[in-house]
Amino acid sequence: MTRILLKNRLDDCIVAWRSAGFSVLAPVKRSDLSRFDEVESSAEMALDLVLTERTIKDHFFPQTEPLIKYRIKKHEIDSQEMLPPDGKRVFFGVRPCDASGLAIDDPLFGWDYKDEYWFKRRDNAVIVTIACTASDDFCMCTSVKLAPDSAKGSDVLLRPLQGGNGWQVEALSDRGNALLEPISSILQDSTDAPAPTVSVPVRFDVDKVMEWLADPASFESHFWKEISLRCIGCGSCTFLCPTCHCFDIQDEGDTYTGIRRKNWDSCSFAMFTMHTSGHNPRNTQSTRWRQRIMHKFNYYRGKFGVNSCSGCGRCTRQCPVDMGITETLQAITNLPK
């Protein structure tokens, strides 16, 4: 016997959660782009998408985030932190890949120095994930040892029912349990079976990839130049990635006041590592592409025990020249022994 939520009761849930002080964010398609945004009714939700074009990362690590407001005078300065607003949020309809992205980034933002901007948002959010019954040619969660019903990073896991009329509901954390309180009367007991999750083919051998990357000889391999010839050095893959977290700090203002901001930056940009002296340790696209792959599947793993990839496939799905991580990792998988 499990608990289920029927689709026709979703609006009641939204009302209950909003009364409990949560704002509800769900997948929507607005202005010709699918992403997570606040909704007031289930009619606004686009739950049938394989996944949204933009990730929920945007709501925890926005593309531009005010850090500090400052005021300067010649012999005095005044600076105040601009922490994110209080406000509890429910993210309803997250895909397992996006949810795992949050869990993957937590250790980085907490590495010795705690990034309060990230954690304040994380602590105020509850992630309700819906397992995937559909995928497309770019999904690769299983290749990075996740799954269409992975629980990583989620507080509540919903499994679509066989009949398509609702979801099986499972709380995975204290926060998840707390979220189900206001809707406990809306949930029902049922023996309805969940639909099978989609089978996502494994596209590359991640163990072999990690082994090859760990070999010091691979760093200087000609492979990197060959595989990245068509990369144009934009930030699409990095900005749409649920786990990419590189940023720049910029001051914006006039002579006396301004805001110091944290803005997304990308290791694929030519100027990313440029020194003022003009020296650039990564001054070719191939060295930058190598950094991207090594960081995700070697450096990050070495420090935090997990690859910095959730297998969502957006890097390939959105790449203007049909690149992305998948092809590189397939090529490594297929390298002769």
Binding site: K74, S79, P216, F219, E220, D248, D251, R260, Y299
Partner: protein
């Protein structure tokens, strides 16, 4: 919290060499000063900046034995350093730090110290030099080999004089061929070749080496020839930084984040890094 810098008042500034300035900074807030005193060890760096312009990374040039102020020395090269270079006494600038790891100078106790620096890389070395000279009795022989392109480019000129006068310090100065003035009394030649000439013994000696990459490369060769092992040679690395706390993803050399696991490394650790990422 972690991105909010300390306000610092400029106490004085000094022109060390063409385009190179030292700022002496004092803390505006008592609690910031306490934090610094409790955390700063020689080798650590900070992000110095000005609201409205940005932040720039340099070492803390003052030693861990003198924490009532912060000294930083930098070359005017970009937006932030130009504004810092134009700061006057009384102006407020910002400091974020101290970050990074440290020179383990307690492990150097009882040993001879060989300091080698080139040009604008004297500041980080100088921080260690004074940290040791302020506790002189703990260390053996102290030799300092310092060279710059020209006489004018030598930094901390007044301290060079001070070290020259001390009889418990062996100071070897050099300028590049062509950089000497008519009254120059010391060596002429690149640091690595002067080092080979001075031929310090590797016996019970720790070397601290800071300089531009090309100088480091040739000096390491020279040290190797003299019998120094790479694990007894300490150096510093630098890279472009923004956050200083390991999150913005840009300062790594291979898997090593300069801001968290550096900037102090042994030469052995540097050799183990992918050289193509330096």
């Amino acid at each position: 919290m972690i991105y909010n810098p300390f306000p610092m008042r400029v106490v004085s500034k000094r022109e060390e060499a063409p385009g190179v300035r030292t700022l002496k900074l004092e803390f505006v807030r008592q609690e910031d000063h306490e934090f610094f005193k409790n955390h700063y060890k020689t080798g650590m760096f900070g992000l110095y900046g000005i609201f409205g312009e940005g932040e720039s990374t340099f070492c803390v040039a003052s030693p861990e034995t003198r924490t009532d102020y912060i000294e930083c020395t930098f070359r005017q090269s970009g937006r932030v350093t130009t504004t810092l270079a134009n700061a006057d006494a009384g102006d407020i600038v910002t400091f974020r730090g101290p970050y990074g790891n440290r020179f383990p100078i307690e492990e150097f106790e009882g040993k001879n110290l060989l300091f080698i620096a080139g040009g604008i890389a004297l500041p980080p070395t100088r921080s260690v030099i004074w940290s040791c000279l302020d506790q002189r009795e703990k260390y053996g022989n102290v030799t300092i080999v310092y060279g710059a392109r020209t006489v004018a480019d030598l930094v901390y000129k007044h301290e060079l004089e001070e070290w020259k006068q001390r009889d418990d310090v062996n100071l070897v100065l050099t300028v590049d061929p062509g950089g000497e003035t008519p009254d120059w009394q010391d060596h002429v030649g690149f640091v690595p070749s002067v080092l080979e000439k001075v031929a310090p013994s590797p016996e019970n000696t720790i070397a601290v080496l800071c300089g531009p990459p090309i100088m480091i490369k040739f000096t390491l060769n020279a040290l190797g020839k003299l019998g120094f092992s790479e694990s007894n040679v300490y150096t510093t690395l630098e890279n472009r930084m923004k956050c200083g706390v390991g999150k913005c993803g840009r300062c790594n050399v291979g898997s090593v984040y300069i801001c968290k696991e550096g900037p102090v490394f042994t030469a052995a650790e540097v050799s183990a890094m992918p050289q193509a990422d330096l």
